[in-house]
């Protein structure tokens, strides 16, 4: 019974908190720029407004266009549920490992990209084509980073990974390199500066926003919520691997409360770091993505090589 309750909590809590995280990042960015910024709960208000509004569909929008927001949201949600946020025990992470999470995020990307091409506007096409390009550049780096982590943990399942990383792995250059690769991939995949700009309204610089330009009403609300959830997902993922402290390993109340507190603190810290990073860096042009994500791949490969060497010297 407690397991079921925990599972439901693990499913619902990230969805409930994702808009708050986005609100926090926006708020901190606004403060850093000297503005007062919107209230922390503004994303909730935006979503509620979108749910109330009438959705408008283009005349030639197909079933794929209408279905993609629901399915892509569910895909990100499932991936999120596989990540140990505040407790490891009743986790889908036992059936969906890190590679499966990367695959699920790929599915979400494909669905939204297809929906972007459905109406037949050039903005949808440009967004879809660039989004898939970013995916193609990010996935090798992600996979090699997974190899580096699996070398340490002997597993790609996140509960095992998180456990192994919390048990005296120590500070290692190789893991720092893997962390760097993961962070760069996360920035690219969540559409943050310098790869994409979530706040842009200039068509030619948009990637994700250009794909979903035709969406409105509840469909747009689901897409937006899915994007917020994806940000929460990547921060939780990096948190549970590289800062595996405080995750509850039993169902005791104190452990769970501590786990939840630690998770919230990690999210807040991640949001702060993201806001700082986005404020000090400029958006790069499209054809510099390969350099950015190529560096991520290089970091990951170097991480693997260093791990080999350290294993050899042991």
């Amino acid at each position: 019974m407690t397991d079921l309750a925990l599972l439901i909590f693990q499913l619902l809590l990230p969805v409930a908190l994702a808009p708050l995280l986005t609100g926090l990042v926006r708020r901190i960015k606004a403060r850093l720029l000297g503005r007062r910024g919107p209230a922390l709960v503004q994303p909730y208000r935006d979503l509620a407004r979108l749910f109330r509004k009438e959705p408008v569909l283009a005349f030639n929008a197909s079933w794929l266009f209408r279905g993609a927001p629901y399915v892509s949201f569910a895909v990100v949600w499932l991936a999120m549920a596989a990540i140990p946020t505040f407790a490891t025990t009743p986790s889908l992470g036992l059936g969906l490992d890190l590679i499966a999470i990367a695959g699920l995020l790929g599915l979400a990307r494909i669905l939204v990209a297809l929906a972007g091409m459905d109406v037949g506007t050039s903005f949808g096409g440009i967004g879809a084509s660039r989004e898939m390009t970013i995916g193609a550049l990010a996935e090798p780096a992600m996979l090699v980073a997974i190899i580096a982590l699996a070398l340490v943990a002997k597993s790609t399942a996140l509960p095992d990974l998180s456990k192994a990383m919390s048990e005296g792995v120590g500070l290692r250059v190789s893991l720092a390199l893997a962390l760097g690769a993961m962070v760069m991939v996360a920035i690219a995949e969540t559409g943050r500066i310098p790869v994409d700009n979530p706040a842009t309204h200039l068509e030619l610089t948009m990637v994700h926003e250009a794909m979903v330009l035709e969406y409105s009403g509840r469909h747009l609300a689901l897409i937006e919520l899915g994007a917020m959830l994806k940000l929460t997902l990547y921060l939780s993922l990096i948190g549970c691997i590289f800062a595996p402290w405080g995750i509850a390993r039993d169902a005791g109340m104190t452990a769970l409360a501590a786990g939840a507190g630690a998770w919230l603190a990690k999210l807040a810290a991640g949001g702060l770091a993201l806001a700082l990073f986005e404020t000090v860096i400029a958006k790069m042009r499209v054809f510099r993505y390969p350099e950015f994500l190529g560096a991520a791949l290089l970091f990951a490969i170097l991480g693997v090589v260093f791990l080999y060497i350290s294993q050899h010297l042991k």
């Binding site: 749910f51 109330r52 009438e54 959705p55 408008v56 569909l57 283009a58 005349f59 030639n60 929008a61 197909s62 794929l64 629901y70 399915v71 569910a74 549920a81 036992l94 059936g95 969906l96 490992d97 890190l98 499966a100 695959g103 790929g106 494909i110 091409m117 459905d118 109406v119 506007t121 050039s122 096409g125 084509s129 898939m132 390009t133 995916g135 193609a136 550049l137 996935e139 090798p140 780096a141 992600m142 996979l143 090699v144 699996a150 597993s155 790609t156 399942a157 095992d160 068509e203 330009l213 009403g217 509840r218 609300a221 689901l222 499209v286 054809f287 390969p290 490969i301 693997v304 090589v305």
Partner: protein, 683 residues
């Protein structure tokens, strides 16, 4: 099922194929025969499938049955042998055969000369069914050549077009080269004693040099048939030229038969495998995968892009096969079994989804008359049933959960992770590179199939042929639906096919059979059909069930909650497009523009891709033009120079045709003297 039954079934199936070929010759005069012939071909494939499944699903792993037929060369006869590995490939061949034949019932009714397809089609199936069964070099090569020649005839179906004739010529040349290489390999392995049966080759222990020579010849022969870079050049020409259901068979089944030859030869026949064969094969596989996926992304012809994507998947399978050989050579049998299982599972899955996609491309061709992506668009509204089926194929080949393509790529990646533990430093360092190449290939494939589906099926029609397209016949839909259902089922329950595949793979890497049962789904409390756990419960587990059911449940919740929270019905309106919707469908993204970023990033260095835009100055009324050019490095660096060398040499040698008789006589005399000198020196 007793083994007598299996061999009877196989005998009946092969005899029926030959009979069907004879019947196929008469279809030009009697077109009524077309439908019964295809139906009978499908039934025959079912019979062969049942025979193969009987061996594959037998509970004891080492079920091997043999037959010796009194035909063939006088001193060796024809040896046939059915074991787990052969059965796996027979299943792949006959699943594809059933789908292609059922599809043919609806597809081919309108062609002018049906005998051009129906006569070689059953022979092609017979050849592909014979190769895995062969247990001596002679029978093997007979089956191999039957397969090659029948498919060559099928490529020539559209012989009126010069492109198809060129494709057939290139294909025939490569097939001849491949068969020659295989002949050399078998010759080297048979040795001076001439032990041409595979049993004799298994028993003999060739020296390292001979074994390596044979392995290279096998790699050339089987690799050229499978489409490994740089010997892949014929594949994107020949596969699209054939009728679509034959393309499906060539890509889905024939390339797998070639991989069967590679697996059988390198793991069993060529003595003890050496670790660097495996490493080399894995690197070639990774490079082939990335190159194939990249080239698939740059093609504007629906069937050509599918053919390039076949090259990609062959690369993935070969990489896993290479890892299996490296593990076996290093004595790690469990890991070798896992890698080989991954290769077999991906071969099976690719057979399913690539057949599905080729049949889908055939449906588009059938209903619009074109293969050019840039003339299509909006077919999702016209081909209401074909579109979701092709979408399933696109998602499966893009390796995303919960479909079958992901399950097998996941296993391949687990093998790559295992490879980091290999003893040789070269292999250790190659492992992350192979992993990165395979991940790149998977992501490029995803981009390529978003482009394929998005341009052909989504958006607005770019041409009248797409606007007036019609749904295809029920038989064609049934073939696609069957393949799509298998893609979904194997994705949700990967443990079901993996159990017998794992057993067959275990027998190949460890004939004692001890390792065969260990690596799939043996964790405590988890049964095989729920989740795949490559090393028991020690490391990661992938559960297709969790992915499929979780996705279905969460989608249901999302739809339910949203429909409760937001009840306003959707309104239809013109597209928004930032306020300036352009009615001309030519303003949509095209096949070239959708691939442009990746073509520019990777195509520049790898394919020498160049985009040229000519924009006339302001005030000039000429239209702007765009041209995109690229070249295949294999043609540029290998085949074009080779062809040039051959033509130059033949031109020189041509002079020999016009000599006087005394010159010929003196040439012969000189040759005789030369040979005598050689004999005198060497004795």
């Amino acid at each position: 099922m007793s083994d007598v039954d299996q061999w009877t079934l196989i005998g009946v199936a092969q005899a029926t194929f030959v009979g069907l070929a004879v019947g196929g010759c008469m279809t030009n005069r009697r077109p009524v025969l077309i439908v019964p012939l295809y139906a009978l071909a499908a039934l025959t494939c079912v019979v062969a499938l049942v025979a193969a499944l009987g061996t594959l699903l037998a509970p004891d792993a080492d079920v091997v049955t043999r037959r010796v037929l009194p035909v063939g060369l006088p001193d060796i006869k024809s040896h046939l042998r059915l074991d787990g590995l052969a059965a796996v490939f027979l299943v792949i061949v006959n699943l594809g055969g059933i789908a292609a034949a059922v599809y043919g019932i609806g597809y081919d009714a309108h062609t002018t000369e049906p005998a051009r397809v129906l006569a070689p089609f059953p022979l092609f199936l017979a050849g592909m069914n014979l190769v895995p069964l062969a247990d001596d070099a002679f029978t093997f090569l007979v089956g191999w050549e039957l397969m090659s020649l029948a498919s060559w005839l099928l490529v020539l179906t559209g012989h009126e077009q010069a492109d198809n004739r060129r494709a057939a010529l290139v294909y025939l040349t490569m097939a001849a080269f491949g068969a020659l290489a295989l002949l050399m390999a078998f010759g080297a392995l048979a040795g001076a004693g001439g032990g041409y049966t595979f049993d004799a080759m298994r028993r003999s222990t060739p020296s390292a040099a001979i074994a390596t020579l044979a392995a290279f010849a096998l790699l050339l022969g089987a690799g050229s048939k499978a489409g490994l870079a740089p010997l892949h050049v014929w594949l994107p020409l020949a596969h699209p030229a054939a009728p679509s259901h034959v393309s499906a068979l060539m890509s889905g089944a024939m390339t797998k038969v070639a991989l069967y030859a590679l697996a059988r030869g390198l793991l069993e026949l060529a003595g003890t495998p050496q670790w660097w064969w495996g490493g080399l094969l894995a690197v070639i596989g990774g490079l082939t995968a990335a190159l194939g996926a990249l080239q698939s992304l740059t093609q504007n012809d629906s069937k050509t892009l599918l053919a390039y994507s076949t090259i990609e998947n062959i690369g993935v399978i070969t990489a896993a096969l290479g890892l299996a050989i490296a593990f076996k050579a290093s004595g790690q049998r469990l890991e070798a079994g896992l890698a080989l299982t991954a290769a077999l599972f991906h071969a099976l899955n690719h057979g399913l989804f690539k057949s599905l996609l080729f049949l889908g491309a055939g449906a588009v061709l059938h209903s619009t008359g074109t293969r050019e992506l840039d003339r299509l668009g909006g077919l999702i509204h016209r081909l209401r049933w074909t579109a979701p089926l092709v979408l399933i194929g696109c998602l499966a080949i893009s390796a995303v959960p919960p479909l079958n393509g992901f399950a097998s790529e996941w296993l391949v990646f687990q093998s790559v992770l295992d490879a980091t533990g290999l003893g040789h430093w070269e292999l250790k360092f190659a492992a992350p590179v192979i992993g990165a190449l395979l991940a790149l290939a998977a992501a490029l494939a995803a981009a390529g199939f978003v482009r394929f589906f998005g341009i052909a099926f989504l958006g607005r029609p770019r041409d009248a042929v797409a606007a007036n397209a019609h749904e295809v016949t029920p038989a064609m839909l049934a073939a696609m639906a069957g393949l799509a259902a298998l893609c979904l089922a194997f994705g949700a329950w990967p443990g079901v096919p993996l159990e017998p595949l794992g057993r067959a793979a275990g027998m190949m890497v460890d004939p004692s059979g001890a390792a065969g049962r260990l690596f799939v789904g043996q964790g405590d409390g988890r049964t095989a059909w729920l989740a795949i756990a490559p090393h028991g419960d020690l490391t990661a587990v992938y559960s297709g069930m969790v992915a499929a059911l979780g996705l279905a449940a969460l989608t249901g919740i999302a739809v339910g909650v949203t429909s409760m929270a937001s009840r306003t019905p959707a309104r239809r309106a013109p597209a928004w497009d930032c306020g300036f919707p352009e009615p001309n469908p030519a303003t949509q993204y095209t096949a070239s523009s959708a691939g442009q970023p990746l073509r520019r990033i990777f195509g520049g260095p790898a394919l020498a891709a160049r985009d040229r835009v000519e924009m006339p100055p302001a005030g000039d009324l000429r239209p702007a033009t765009f041209a995109s050019a690229m070249r295949d490095p294999a043609w540029h660096y290998l085949f074009d120079p080779l062809i040039a060398l051959v033509s130059r040499t033949t031109e020189r040698l041509n002079a020999l045709q016009f000599l006087a008789i005394r010159v010929y006589l003196s040439l012969m005399f000189a040759a005789l003297i030369g040979l005598l000198v050689v004999v005198a020196v060497t004795r």
